[in-house]
């Protein structure tokens, strides 16, 4: 009894474990019920999850700033930077080197625009990022008109689809990113201060934190990771297309929430986000294997995220008016 209680307490304290358990259960069910689900296909899931994990890590930083903040410009950044990658690199590694600063600039400028609107003009993050995303969408549409090439730079292709000992390189990258983010959050002054800001921005300011700078950095990071992910996705998909970022709108938020990061900020677990990403992609894959139509897949994803939120409950509502 006591052991059960302490196990339950441990689960509550380590909310990322829910998604980890979910992964194991789902995998078990799949392994038993279908012969088509092999270790090989699991590595495919892992690769897809890795692309999600990269943007979700950025989203996690935005969410951690607290006050219900969220970055809705991520899908637009992904799509635009995928186009930029294809057009600027022209399928060569030399071109990629030229394209990289532009790709990074897309993310950083978007993040800076978001931060400016949120911090200087005090526009709620949800509206600021949504509106910035719309502006980017137009840029994407215009780029789409001039889109001619489908050649992918070999180096980028290697990163996006290559494997080392059967393990997708992108998975290693995502895991490395999660580890770095974990260290940044747990072991640096910035990480600690960001969590303070997310818990209570007023208290953080009075404790000496430069709240605006800390918050802006989180949105810059979110933009940057989304743009880099967009570049990798273009290599993975072998091109860029409109709406390619769309699934990441809900999934990036979903991976963060399912991974155990509280939606009101002030705490964040990058490894949980990684595990949340794998869980979500596993659900999607399961539905694909089961042959469910795309509409049902969307429904289930939306439902899972609401259910996880409702089950976790925030308990303390820290909404800032």
């Amino acid at each position: 009894m006591a052991a059960a209680m302490s196990a339950l307490a441990w689960l509550r304290a380590n909310r990322w474990s829910f998604s980890a358990i979910g992964i194991l259960l789902l995998w078990l069910v799949l392994a038993i019920t279908t012969a088509r689900f092999s270790l090989q296909s699991l590595s495919g899931v892992a690769a897809s999850a890795a692309f999600l994990a990269v943007v979700a890590t950025g989203q996690m930083f935005a969410v951690a700033t607290g006050g219900g903040n969220i970055d809705l410009s991520i899908p637009s950044v992904i799509t635009l930077s995928a186009y930029a990658t294809m057009i600027l690199s022209r399928g060569t590694d030399a071109g990629l080197i030229l394209a990289l600063p532009a790709i990074a600039a897309i993310g950083i400028v978007t993040g800076a625009a978001n931060a400016f609107l949120i911090l200087k003009l005090r526009i709620p993050a949800i509206i600021a990022t949504l509106a910035v995303g719309y502006v980017l969408d137009t840029a994407t549409l215009l780029t789409n008109r001039r889109f001619t090439t489908f050649a992918v730079s070999p180096a980028l292709h290697a990163l996006a689809v290559g494997r080392v000992f059967g393990v997708p390189i992108i998975l290693l990258l995502a895991t490395g990113l999660a580890a770095c983010a974990s260290l940044l959050i747990r072991r640096t002054g910035y990480g600690r201060t960001l969590m303070a800001v997310g818990q209570n921005a007023v208290a953080a300011r009075l404790a000496g934190a430069r709240v605006a700078r800390v918050t802006a950095a989180a949105f810059l990071l979110s933009g940057l990771l989304a743009s880099l992910d967009g570049a990798l996705l273009s290599a993975h998909a072998g091109g860029a297309f409109l709406e390619m970022g769309r699934p990441y709108l809900l999934q990036s938020v979903g991976a963060v929430v399912v991974g155990g990061t509280p939606i009101f900020g002030g705490s964040a677990t990058p490894l949980g986000t990684l595990s949340g990403a794998v869980f979500l992609i596993l659900i999607v894959t399961t539905m694909q294997i089961a042959g469910l139509p795309g509409g049902i897949q969307d429904m289930v994803q939306g439902g899972v995220i609401i259910a996880v939120l409702a089950a976790a409950g925030s308990g303390l509502s820290r909404r800032t008016a």
């Binding site: 008109r145 640096t188 002054g189 818990q199 705490s267 609401i306 939120l309 409702a310």
Partner: protein, 824 residues
């Protein structure tokens, strides 16, 4: 249930006193918050018609007691009897408290700023106006009568939004509203005169005396001891959660009240002062104060303890904030700092602790946050560095790893002090740090403050307990935001400070003239902006294309705008509730699909599915409230559910409109095309809903949800209502899309989400909530739709639509922010 006429309510006698028995009896009421005991075994009884003064320092437990009586907090133990009937705590609530005749005027005003005075009366006494559709007029009369009865010649317009009133006027409304309750037996006034000038305070005193004579028991809580002495027949003194004195007012003059309130603190200070007669020599000047904070420049030096005295609300905390900002390198008029400053707030929950962390992390964050961003943290080193400081504030080692919230308020405060001392700050700013902590911790604090000054730091100390200024080398006396006098050494006695503070107040009473904001044409102009914008846009389009002004052209333009108008009206009600709905567009898309696929084929089933969808939408609101989860993520998740259902039903655009729906769309009413009629209908329905009682309730939840819950309204009911209305409008938008396009496309609704938010913003509603402006929002939606048409006329590629929409939203919000800055 016909309520009495407003006038009768004033004249009506209060409920008959229960045969001379006490109207309120408390026995052994106890309440603790975590380790802090806020109320300890409180017992007293109050007779009808008695006026009782309740006094005590901040944190003495008065507020907790009031929260219990108001039904907001439940006691851990004890009994309460109201008019002879025992209170059943299992069923006690704010609503029950009011039904039993207990009314409280809160210190933190519990009015909804965006509601009018009359509507504020309504949300507290929904039944007082009868069932008439002219409820506004009834409540306006009610408000006017009650305000006049207490404050003759107040000049408050019952139709004015409370937010436009001066603070003193708001307080009058608050008082009049509570005393308007016909069931009133016990009236509790928590600092009612803090914003009132002398004349209005006298009005209130006269009114209290009259109501007491008529049998109402009054509990009067105030820091203005002279008023308490003048008004109350009996005085209760609380200290550290206990009742320490219960005496007739004649037996307790003001000095004795102070002594009873401060008791231990006074004794403590007396003993410690005797022990520490060490004079400190001032060091280098660390801060300079000049106008507007001080008429004659002041210099504050290291090693000094500076007290900030004055009545509450005289600008002391604001001065501390300015010092903190200036020390952090920001320019602030009136203060210059030559060293870093650390801030210790007495509002531990709101401005001090980080609730998810333990003691150690809470202590070290000051040093970490002011250090380098990429500094590497080593937990062992962090602990070693923090340990001496946590020891020095006398925090036992075994508590140093405990979660911060498991500590008592006093110990939390010690951690905050350790946080400040641990930084390299030369200036320590104290914002009433001993608020609500026990005497032992206070003693500790005085020692720490002296030690900090002894180490050469400048301590600037705002306290709400005058007695604490005896610790200070100099006391700056604040009034209306600036230093009026400086008291030094022996001149800074408690009596001197108190009487100086009161002298300033009396001298300045003429300055407190309420009601300066006008409501002339300038006040109404912003509301007309959306209509003006719409007119200009239309004129522009008509100039480009003559046909636009014909009835046919109007029909075309209006037809394109119909869905957005409806979605925007739905979004408006959500934004009015201080939330944002990211699923409203997708829901309109789903309604579009349902009404173009299921509805024509099987009408009954179609109607059922539409009703079910609407029910699901309303349940989302319930879910958000019940589980306290944010609307943004829930509605985002829900948008995928709506789109998913629609996509599963109809993967590619198609379907057909039911014949009756298509006929509706092409019909005319009195020669006016259906498109224009439906836009007018949307505006009319939204305006009616907003003007009805439930509109006031919805806006109330957006403006001040806590006050609404205290007023007995259910937050879940409010949320369900809000989303049901939003869903109904979105549903109608979906039907309109089917009628106009005679087909459906699940992706057609998505773009309406951002446009609806933009329409609401253009329409003049604040994103913070509390405002619903149907006409403005409809104009806003029409304008945004016209911009689409305008771009078409100008041959701008539709590729730019998204950018124009996003840019427009940002632009409008920027403009608003700029205007807000200007007004300040």
């Amino acid at each position: 249930m016909n309520a009495p006429d407003a006038r009768a309510a004033v004249a009506a006698p209060p409920p008959p006193p229960a045969a001379a028995g006490p109207v309120l009896v408390l026995s052994a009421i106890t309440k603790s918050y975590g380790p802090t005991i806020a109320n300890q075994a409180l017992s007293f009884a109050i007779a009808p018609g008695e006026v009782v003064g309740l006094i005590g320092a901040n944190g003495a437990g008065k507020s907790t007691l009031m929260r219990i009586l108001a039904g907001v907090a439940l006691p851990d133990g004890g009994r309460i009897e109201v008019a002879g009937a025992e209170v059943d705590f299992a069923r006690f609530s704010p609503q029950r408290a009011r039904e039993s005749g207990i009314r409280i005027v809160h210190q933190e005003l519990s009015l909804c700023g965006s509601l009018t005075v009359a509507e504020n009366f309504y949300v507290e006494q929904p039944t007082a106006g009868g069932r008439s559709v002219l409820w506004h007029r009834r409540f306006e009369a009610l408000a006017r009568t009650h305000l006049e009865a207490i404050f003759p010649g107040n000049g408050i317009d019952p139709r004015a939004p409370v937010g436009t009133l001066a603070i003193a006027q708001r307080q009058m409304v608050e008082i009049a509203r509570a005393s308007a309750d016909p069931r009133l037996r016990i009236l509790i006034l928590d600092e009612p005169t803090s914003a009132l000038d002398v004349r209005r305070s006298e009005d209130l005193q006269r009114f209290i005396a009259a109501r007491a004579k008529a049998g109402v028991a009054v509990i009067f809580i105030s820091h203005k001891l002279h008023e308490v002495a003048a008004l109350a027949g009996r005085i209760l003194v609380m200290r550290n959660g206990r009742l320490v004195r219960d005496a007739a007012a004649t037996a307790l003059a003001v000095p004795q009240m102070v002594e009873a309130m401060a008791g231990e603190a006074a004794a403590t200070l007396a003993t410690v002062q005797a022990a520490s007669g060490v004079a400190r020599t001032p060091g280098a000047v660390l801060a300079e104060i000049s106008p507007p904070f001080a008429a004659t420049p002041l210099r504050l030096a290291g090693g000094e303890i500076i007290g900030l005295a004055g009545l509450e609300g005289s600008g002391q905390p604001e001065f501390l904030r300015a010092l903190h900002a200036a020390a952090g390198g920001q320019a602030r008029a009136g203060v210059r700092c030559r060293a870093r400053a650390a801030y210790v707030s007495g509002d531990r929950r709101g401005e001090g602790v980080f609730p998810l962390w333990n003691v150690l992390a809470n202590a070290t964050i000051g040093r970490i946050a002011t250090g380098r961003a990429l500094a590497w943290l080593n937990p062992a080193a962090e602990y070693t560095a923090a340990r001496p400081w946590l020891d020095s504030v006398q925090l036992p080692p075994e508590r140093q790893g405990a979660p911060i919230l498991s500590l008592s308020g006093g110990n939390q405060q010690k951690v905050l002090m350790a946080r400040a001392l641990m930084t390299d700050a030369e200036i320590i700013l104290l914002d009433d740090p001993t608020r609500g902590v026990d005497v032992a911790v206070k003693q500790e604090f005085y020692r720490l403050i002296r030690a900090a000054a002894g180490a050469g730091k400048l301590v600037v100390w705002y306290s709400s307990e005058t007695i604490e200024f005896l610790e200070c080398d100099r006391v700056l006396l604040f009034h209306e935001g600036e230093v009026r006098r400086t008291l030094e050494g022996a001149a800074a006695s408690e009596d001197a400070i108190l009487s100086a503070a009161f002298a300033e107040r009396v001298g300045a009473r003429a300055a407190h003239a309420p009601g300066r904001r006008g409501r002339g044409l300038g006040g109404h102009l912003p509301k007309l902006v959306p209509a003006i914008v719409l007119a200009l846009l239309f004129a522009l389009i008509a100039a480009l294309n003559r046909n636009a002004a014909s009835l046919f052209g109007l029909d075309l333009l209006a037809g394109a705008a119909v869905p957005l108008v409806f979605v925007a009206c739905g979004q408006m009600f959500v934004v009015g509730g201080s939330e944002i709905d990211l699923g409203v567009g997708a829901f309109a898309g789903l309604a579009n699909v349902l009404s173009a696929t299921v509805l024509p084929a099987r009408p009954a089933l179609g109607l059922l599915t539409l009703a079910l969808a609407l029910g699901g939408y309303a349940l989302l609101g319930l879910l958000m409230q019940a589980r306290a989860i944010p609307a943004i993520v829930v509605t985002l998740g829900a948008s995928f559910i709506w789109a998913g259902i629609g996509y599963a039903l109809q993967p590619t655009p198609g379907g057909s409109a039911p014949a009756w729906l298509a006929a509706l769309a092409s019909g005319h009413v009195l020669g006016v095309p259906a498109s224009i009629v439906s836009i007018l209908a949307a505006a009319a329905v939204a305006a009616l809903l907003n003007g009805a009682r439930l509109g006031a309730v919805l806006r109330g939840f957006g403006a001040n949800p806590r006050a609404m819950v205290q007023g007995g309204w259910s937050a879940r009911y409010g949320a369900m209502l809000r989303y049901a209305i939003a869903g109904a409008f979105a549903l109608t938008a979906g039907l309109a899309m089917t009628a106009i396009n005679t087909a459906s496309d699940i992706n057609a609704g998505g773009s309406y989400t951002l446009l609806s938010i933009a329409s609401v913003v253009v329409g003049g509603c604040a994103l913070a909530g509390g405002e619903i402006a149907p006409l403005g929002v409809v104009c806003g939606a029409l304008s945004l739709s016209l911009i689409g048409s305008l771009l078409g006329f100008l041959d701008v590629s539709t590729d730019y639509n998204a950018a124009v929409q996003g840019g427009l939203l940002i632009g409008i919000l920027m403009l608003r922010q700029a205007l807000a800055w200007r007004r300040r």
